[in-house]
Amino acid sequence: MSKDIRIRKGLNINLVGAAEQTIAKAVTSNVYALNLDDFHGITPKMLIKQGEDIKAGEPLFYNKNNEEMHFVSPVSGELVEIVRGARRKILTLKILADKEQAYVINKVPDLDTADGEAIKSYLLQCGGWPFIKQRPYDMIADPNVTPKAIFISAYTTAPLAADADFVLKDKEQEIQAAIMGLGKLTPGKIHVSIGKSSRSPFNDIKGIELHKVSGPHPAGLVGTQINKIDPVNKGETVWTISPQDLVMLGELLLTGKFNAERIVALAGSVIKAPKYYTTKIGAEISTFLYASGVNEDRFRLINGDVLTGSKTNTEGYLGFYNNTVTAIPEGDDYEFFGWNKPVFDKISSTRALTFSWLQPKKKYDLDTNTNGEHRAFVLTGRYEEVFPLDIYPLQLLKACMVKDLDEMEQLGLYEVAPEDFSLTEFICISKQPHQQIIREGLDLLQKELG
């Protein structure tokens, strides 16, 4: 049985350069890298030394606060470099891949008979755990806490992001296995959201509560769906996992093999032939970037979508959680009288001599220019129009900025992740860094209240 969720508030950002729905195989990467920034709040303790060999699926490091939580290597090869930053903080681990890949084959638990504890320790040991994230605090799930529910969004509304239905095609078996495994970790429900008329493989999966979602972005963000289905209260925990990572968990539970392979959308106006590629977590982005070709010399390469992704460059590596790589033009140029000219080629949520409201379906080629300078919050009531959560966005942001813990709690900081504020950040006329403010607020709340 499915329940419908209709989102009215929001804004679709239509950009040129959507990935064509064909899959090519990316050239095998020589070096693979894990970027430790992907694992927010994790302090790594290395299990192998620089220069040692490692198999695919063998643990590289563990979480200092939870020794059982292993992070495994996506490929087999030699750990060639540990890049460190200030105070010897580990930034990146680089692995030179073998020509012939060797996998660790773990002994899989029997999904029908195994209990939750067995599944949990299996996932922790074999590197599947980091795919599970939790709210509050938007970080890798704490295995000691039982979630009240698990949320999965298989509905894509983010600009140029990989289409969930397309990349999940023919993965029913893995998805079902992962759902069976995760189902044992929570006494609550597993909520899955799909597009209203989508032919998603989730239509046939058992053991889930299916929701059909429609409406503009951020309808596809899992945070929006949590807020509409079963919001997080103080003290409660929910888990979220992206559907593609669910497939990897499923394979890990079925075959015992950590298969880092995933389908990645390469998109953006800079890309000549935007399409999908099969590659692996941590692969060099250049292995498929140049196969599609680029139009410009200088561009912004993003691990993820344009609203929530992280900045990288042509020497960068595919992020642990990303299944989209976007390339858009850099906008570091001046525009003569840019603040008072009528604007036809940019998106705006107002009509202040901006004309994107005339053609809601038109596709735009946006660059990274901020279109104005950072200012204090001035306008009110604008964010609410693109923010469907039952939360006062401006007031929550201000509470985070002044570090008022009580108010942060009361206004619902537990329920949100930085990505929920990506759209308010996009339309912000004061050009405030909303996602950063929320991230810092979450970190502070976690530090003070645990």
Partner: protein, 414 residues
């Protein structure tokens, strides 16, 4: 030009004068700033564009105000034309010329003094010059009487910008609307100048006591004295009446308001609820008069019996509702709160207007008062959201942690 300015910008970087240079530079060119964190793309509008939109909405009022200044001036001398024609009697070069020489200096002083202080504070504090004053600087000349001496205006602007805004931290942080703070300062510091029947018409003050003496009483002024006024409803709606420079034409204010609502810059909630509030208060007063509770000799009788909806046509009510009450910084910031905030502005405006013995106008006082109460209104609106969350919290499903006795102890004591 672009490259030269870029080189200059680099030269000024980190120097004390950088904010001043950047403020001028960003007027010519939108900066080359790119996104650093979070969303990699941003929408087209910035604060400059927003402020510019408000100014565009104000320009018709300013132009009309200039013509009207001349029209009132000549009408006071020669008498009102009998067969009024827009082109012949109103949109004339003579009228415009009088308007230009009286109004433009006010605009220049308002912007000059205000922006100078803004630049000073920005350079001194090392932050960028924020655009808030662009609108304030335009509002100020529109809400003062034509013959306000420039030195008074300069002092008032300095007071308003420093005490009304900069001491709170500048644009976005102020509690009171800066333009109205300036207006209130003028009113309380120079009360004899700012009221009466002399300041509303150009040169009326200078001619007082001579053979050429002229005067022009506002509609509200006449009503407050219990005397009649000679303007038709159409005059009031189109704005051919004496008053502060920009406030007279209800038609153009209405158009400006529609433009601001359409562009989504100003809140329609505040405008609608303020109009409703004014009508309700007007109806109450009319009701009191109709019920015969008020003797005719009462000094409030004429103002209270003034038809309720005509309050919107005279004085600064319409202008205040559209351009001042909707200031997002000093107004209520929640959508629900805006309904209450607007309603009380309209309600109190008409109430103060009727009961204020010295000066028959209440819009700026009502808005300033509600500016002070706006955070309180928001506080209660947020309380509602917090209560909802607390109610949900009672049915929260919290599973005990697998380990950690300390944590269970914590939840027990909490």
């Amino acid at each position: 030009m672009k490259d030269k300015l870029h080189q200059l910008k680099l030269k000024y970087q980190g120097k004390k004068m950088a904010p001043a240079f950047n403020a001028l530079h960003t007027f010519l060119y939108t900066p080359n700033e790119t996104t650093h964190s979070g969303s990699h793309v941003r929408a087209a509008d910035d604060l400059k564009r927003t402020m510019n939109t408000v100014i565009l909405a104000l320009v018709p009022c300013l132009l009309f105000g200039m013509f009207n200044t001349g029209y009132q001036h000549f009408s006071a001398i020669n008498g009102f034309p009998e067969n009024f024609s827009l082109m012949e009697h109103f949109l004339t070069w003579d009228n415009l010329w009088v308007g230009l020489v009286t109004v433009l200096p006010l605009v220049i002083v308002s912007y000059g003094v205000g922006l100078a202080i803004e630049f000073l504070f920005a350079v001194n504090k090392g932050h960028e010059v924020e655009e808030g004053y662009l609108v304030t600087g335009m509002l100020v000349p529109l809400i003062v009487p034509v013959d306000t001496p420039l030195w008074m205006l300069a002092i008032a602007v300095a007071f308003g910008v420093v005490i009304g805004k900069e001491v709170f931290g500048g644009t976005g942080m102020n509690i009171l609307n800066p333009a109205l703070t300036i207006r209130a300062f003028l009113f309380f510091a120079y009360p004899t100048w700012m009221s009466g029947d002399k300041v509303w018409v150009h040169e009326a003050v200078e001619r007082a006591g001579t053979a050429d003496a002229i005067s022009g009483e506002t509609v509200l002024g006449s009503l407050a004295q219990g005397s009649d006024y000679s303007y038709s409803l159409a005059d009031m709606f189109y704005g051919f009446i004496p008053g502060s420079i920009g406030e007279t034409s209800t038609l153009l204010i209405l158009l400006g308001g529609l433009f601001l609502v359409f562009t989504k810059i100003a809140s329609w909630r505040i405008m609608v609820s303020a109009v409703v509030g004014a009508l309700v208060m007007g109806l109450i007063f009319n009701g009191v008069v109709n019920a015969g509770w008020l003797p005719e000799y009462s000094k409030f009788y004429t103002l209270m019996s003034f038809p309720y909806w005509q309050h919107l046509l005279v004085g600064g009510l319409a202008f205040g509702i559209v351009f001042m009450a909707t200031d997002p910084v000093t107004g209520s910031q929640t959508n629900k709160g805006k309904w209450y905030y607007g309603f009380f502005i309209g309600f109190l405006s008409v109430m103060i207007r009727v009961f204020n013995p010295g000066y028959p106008e209440g819009v700026f006082l009502a808005i300033l008062l509600m500016n002070v109460f706006a955070p309180t209104i928001d506080h209660y609106v947020l309380k509602g959201n917090i209560k909802k969350r607390l109610k949900r919290f009672k049915t929260a499903t919290i599973y005990p942690k697998a380990s950690d006795e300390v944590d269970t102890l914590k939840t027990e004591t909490a």
